[in-house]
């Protein structure tokens, strides 16, 4: 049997596992996936790999005593053993005051995240895609280093209240750095899709080549505050630091950028420009995601920041119960609304500014203000009177995405991007920001 089970196969397996349970409550999570990758550097393939994973996790509870056990092979004997093991662990465990029990059956919206095209990808598919990229860089005496990884899999769950959920999905991420032979120019591109047939490695490679050649001869600009245009790849790594930190418990506990003095939070407050909207939506056609969270809670379209105000925070079921509010699970995708401006139009309307195509090594400097540091990389350009004037040397920045989104000038059309920090995919628009703080110069190319 393939490690990727159909819905009925997954249901049958989960029912069998559940039949072994003697605990008060039981919840089983099941998953399987195929992964394949091809890595290249110095215009040659360096490593390649394929991985098959499957995993079954059983959580048993006696009252508030909870135990979890996992296995990666599914013989009948192992299935019964993993249930027994989770029950033994539960009996030995101290009471978990934060255990809130398993959910009743739920209904989920439908979301198509599985594409046969991606599921069929094999070493030949990957080699062909990479060769298209290599031919272009080899032909122009440029040096390419890239990585292509595809994944197809499913997740399913069932609990002792007979909640059942199943979601199959596929994805492919492609990233490429193109450098000039003398090392004075570097360009980057990253593309992520659910459907591999949308991936055009040649077209993507041309973007990286253009940035690589265009970044040769970079001039130094004084560090300081500048108007910047952030391409979506650059914006994503800043914004995801907001997405990751919208947890209600941290805010209530007073240790979040959403906390206020006197034990209060910024729920409902406007904290950014009113054009800023962040929402999650598992049915988004460009960024489909599983419509259920790991404990079976349904996910639907939900605004987190609406018109610049904090609309929702993530509430675990425990924290929600304690605070007498509805639980809100962590979403499986995130989308930022955009405007209509194209990148070209944004450049044209800029008297003096900097085009940032990628940011790198992002770290939190101060969690209270969400101050982040990091550097520009692989193509940074000076804009004057509506035109890209010349490439510039890379900068280190110290900036908070919250401050940045208060200094918003223009939003472009959102596109699917891959975070170069977390590999997660988002829908993010290009954006023009005033007074973005660059604090020092870097010699890195």
């Amino acid at each position: 049997m393939s490690v990727i089970l159909t819905e009925s196969e997954a249901k049958a397996l989960l029912k069998k596992v559940l039949s072994y349970s003697k605990a008060d409550e039981c919840e089983i999570n099941l998953s399987g996936e195929h992964r394949g990758n091809l890595r290249y550097a110095r215009n040659e393939v360096s490593t390649s790999g394929a991985l098959i994973n499957q995993n079954l996790q059983v959580q048993s509870a006696f009252g508030k005593k909870v135990g979890v056990a996992t296995i990666d092979e599914f013989s009948d004997e192992s299935l019964e053993k993993v249930v027994r093991r989770s029950e033994e662990l539960a009996k030995l465990a101290p009471e978990n005051p934060e255990y809130v029990g398993v959910l009743e059956p739920q209904t989920y919206v439908s979301s198509k995240g599985f594409f046969e095209s991606t599921a069929k990808a094999n070493p030949d598919t990957r080699a062909t895609a990479v060769l298209k990229s290599l031919e272009l860089t080899r032909g122009q005496k440029l040096t390419a280093a890239g990585f292509l990884e595809d994944q197809s899999g499913y997740a399913a769950m069932m609990n002792s209240k007979v909640l059942f959920a199943y979601y199959p999905c596929t994805s492919v991420n492609f990233s490429l750095t193109v450098r000039t032979e003398d090392g004075t120019g570097s360009g980057y591109v990253a593309k992520g899709y659910s459907d591999i047939s949308k991936l055009d490695t040649a077209a993507a490679t041309k973007i990286a080549i253009q940035k690589s050649l265009g970044s040769v001869g970079a001039k130094a600009l004084e560090p300081g505050k500048y108007t910047v245009i952030l391409e979506p790849t650059a914006a994503a790594v800043l914004l995801e630091n907001i997405f990751f930190r919208m947890d209600a418990r941290s805010a209530d506990e007073g240790r979040s950028f959403l906390s206020k003095q006197g034990g209060k939070t910024k729920m409902g407050e406007k904290i950014m420009d009113e054009r800023v909207n962040f929402y999650s939506d598992p049915t988004h056609p460009e960024l489909p995601a599983s419509p259920w969270a790991g404990d079976g809670q349904p996910l639907e379209k939900k605004y987190w920041i609406e018109k610049g105000a904090v609309k929702n925070m993530y509430y675990s079921r425990y924290w929600a119960q304690k605070n007498n509010v509805k639980p809100i699970p962590f979403p499986n995708n995130m989308i930022m609304d955009g405007g209509t401006a194209t990148l070209d139009e944004m450049i044209k309307s800029t008297k003096q500014g900097i085009l940032v195509t990628k940011l790198w090594y992002i770290r939190t400097v101060d969690p209270q203000t969400l101050l982040l540091t990091g550097l520009t990389r692989d193509g940074t350009f000076y804009i004057e009177n509506g035109k890209i004037k010349h490439p510039i040397k890379n900068f280190r920045f110290n900036e908070s995405p919250v401050i940045m989104l208060n200094n918003l000038e223009t939003l472009g059309k959102p596109e699917r991007v891959v975070s170069t920090e977390s590999d997660r995919n988002y829908m993010i628009p290009p954006m023009k920001i005033r007074e973005f703080t660059f604090s020092s110069l870097s010699d890195a190319v």
């Binding site: 998953s31 990758n37 890595r39 290249y40 550097a41 110095r42 040659e44 490593t47 390649s48 790999g49 991985l51 995993n55 996992t70 005051p97 070493p123 080699a127 280093a145 890239g146 990585f147 990884e149 990233s175 490429l176 450098r179 090392g183 990751f244 930190r245 947890d247 941290s250 506990e253 007073g254 240790r255 979040s256 906390s259 206020k260 006197g262 904290i271 790991g294 962590f330 790198w360 090594y361 770290r363 939190t364 400097v365 101060d366 969690p367 209270q368 203000t369 969400l370 101050l371 540091t373 890379n394 280190r396 110290n398 401050i403 977390s422 604090s439 020092s440 870097s442 010699d443 890195a444």
Partner: protein, 545 residues
């Protein structure tokens, strides 16, 4: 495991949500962590099956790694145990050279010859397929076989033999100590690792190794309800290549001063009390005035600066461009090394790679391609003299043998060049921290590691810390806040003015150094004594939102 996953799992990051899908094999009972793995005679038989099959299919070289990887986490917050996880991952990775090209295949739970042969044959098939895209064949530095040998980390108390209750009791007492000394919140974790690795190659080596690592860590938060400000202080522990003996509280392992620091024994309870008091004190500490300061960097802080600005740029694969798409390349290019006069740092600066250092995270007998480990100079009297290389890279820098820097984070990952322990040699002239501070007119004394970021060629960096003390006219005058320093690697190491002697030498390190695509994690230590750097640019990181 990736750093980000660990931070989430252990509740040590500021965002409190848990990432799903942390895959470390299967969960097992704590007793299973002590069960013996396969008998060594069985491992040899399995390894030979793979090596013979690889050769029969035309491989000119093959190596096999039979790996059993054991992990245990104990995770708590305040008065609660949040999680106790025991995991075991067992499998085999086979790497070959065929038609001049590398190929790799891995198989989970391999316990018979047929599975081993199949993995070897798959690896050869992949090598032959990839050879079509290859321009230059792999050149492997010669390596003699060692026959049947073994190496065991010199631990005094196996952490897996310590009852979980003892660890839970320690962490809860640590949390309680923090809470009763002014903390509003505390998260603590004990992370223990045992890698049981068997390596065999067509060079005639059969190497059995038993590697142990431990990492006790906590994060204390103090909040001022009036202002809504919060401050944190992390443990001043280091992840170590030791057993539970690291948690002994021996006065000889303590360094007293403005705050107690630790060498080869860590008093977690004592540190938690200090952490709670210091997190609270940080709430009212003075905000730093930006400008140039002389920095006095404690080893608990300096390890990370060494890691980022010396360890990474001297990885030969980065220098050559193999990591260009992710981790980046390096400013320390071959021409600088060839010039024999590239002044990486001041004359005081001697940076040494060392895979032998006892108690360090990088210490092993042999690396993951059967090379016996060693110690060598990277920067001597300030001048760049060498890199870190594996067998297929040694010829590029004119070396006749590998440095022994090959590592894979799992049986299922292909081994590649990873950082050895890279350390700053202690000063040769007797010098204590107190004497060093006496000479500083305007300085900041930094203890513990904090925020860190460096560019992709390792020029420009910015580091924070845990504790910042203002030094004025030779005296510590108080605590500072909102401190980060920025510099350029070469400028920074050339500003190195003084290094304390070996009495102050301690290790710091990382459990989760990430590199490669797909990303692999490795553990590495960095030793130093307290060191002074003159005239470094300090910025103020305070903002309002």
């Amino acid at each position: 495991m990736k750093r980000r996953d660990f931070m989430q799992l252990a509740g040590l990051s500021t965002g409190a949500f848990m990432l799903p899908g942390i895959s470390m094999g299967k969960t097992v009972s704590p007793e299973a962590l002590l069960a013996p793995g396969l008998d060594i005679a069985v491992k040899k038989r399995l390894a030979d099956a793979a090596l013979n099959a690889a050769k029969a299919k035309g491989a000119t070289y093959a190596d096999v790694r039979i790996g059993r990887y054991l992990n245990q986490f104990v995770v708590t917050r305040e008065n609660k145990v949040q999680n106790i996880v025991n995991t075991e991952s067992y499998g085999v990775g086979v790497r070959v050279i065929a038609n001049g090209c590398w190929g790799f295949a891995a198989v989970v739970d391999a316990k018979n010859e047929a599975q081993m042969a199949k993995a070897a044959e798959d690896a050869v098939a992949i090598a032959k397929a990839n050879a079509k895209l290859m321009k230059e064949p792999v050149q492997l530095a010669p390596q003699k076989g060692f026959g049947e040998v073994s190496w065991k980390a010199p631990i005094k108390r196996n952490a897996f033999e310590v009852p979980i209750q003892e660890k839970v009791d320690l962490l809860l007492s640590v949390n309680n100590a923090a809470m009763t000394n002014g903390a509003n919140y505390v998260n603590s974790v004990m992370f223990q690792v045992n890698e049981q690795k068997y390596f065999a190659s067509t060079d005639g080596s059969y190497i059995d190794q038993d590697i142990h690592r431990i990492y006790p860590q906590f994060n204390v938060t103090a909040i001022d309800p009036k202002t809504g400000k919060f401050q944190t202080r992390n443990a001043l522990s280091a992840p170590m290549g030791m057993g539970y003996d690291y948690l002994k509280t021996n006065p000889a392992d303590k360094i007293s001063g403005v705050t107690t620091r630790y060498n080869k024994g860590y008093d977690m309870l004592e540190d938690a009390i200090a952490a709670a008091q210091q997190a609270k004190a940080k709430l009212s500490a003075k905000s730093v005035e930006a400008g140039k300061y002389d920095l006095i960097l404690d080893p608990s802080h300096l390890w990370l600066t060494i890691h980022e600005s010396v360890g990474h740029p001297l990885e030969l694969d980065r220098v050559l461009g193999y990591e260009a798409n992710f981790a980046g390349t390096s400013f320390a290019t071959l021409d600088k090394w060839q010039s024999k006069n590239f002044q990486y740092g001041s004359k005081e600066v001697n940076l040494v790679a060392d895979k032998l250092q006892e108690g360090s995270l990088g210490a092993v007998g042999w690396d993951d391609e059967g090379v016996n480990t060693k110690k060598w100079d990277l920067v001597k009297d300030g001048v760049l003299v060498n890199y870190q290389a594996t067998r297929d890279q040694a010829h590029i820098i004119g070396e006749k043998e590998s440095h022994g820097c090959s590592y894979a984070d799992s049986w299922s990952s292909v081994q590649f060049q990873r950082m050895p322990n890279v350390s700053l040699a202690a000063g040769k002239t007797p010098l204590s921290v107190e004497d060093m501070i006496k000479d500083v007119k305007k300085g900041i004394y930094i203890i513990g590691d904090g925020s860190f970021s460096i560019d992709q060629q390792r020029y420009n960096f910015q580091f924070g810390g845990q504790l910042f003390y203002e030094v004025k006219d030779g005296k510590i005058v108080g605590m500072l806040n909102d401190v980060a320093y920025q510099s350029n690697t070469q400028e920074f190491w050339n500003s190195c003015a003084q290094i304390c002697d070996e009495r102050d030498y301690r290790l710091g390190g990382s459990f989760f150094d990430g590199k490669g695509q797909p990303s692999q994690s490795s553990a590495v230590s960095h030793g130093s004594s307290t060191t002074r750097f003159n005239g470094v640019n300090v910025i103020n990181t305070a903002r309002k939102i």
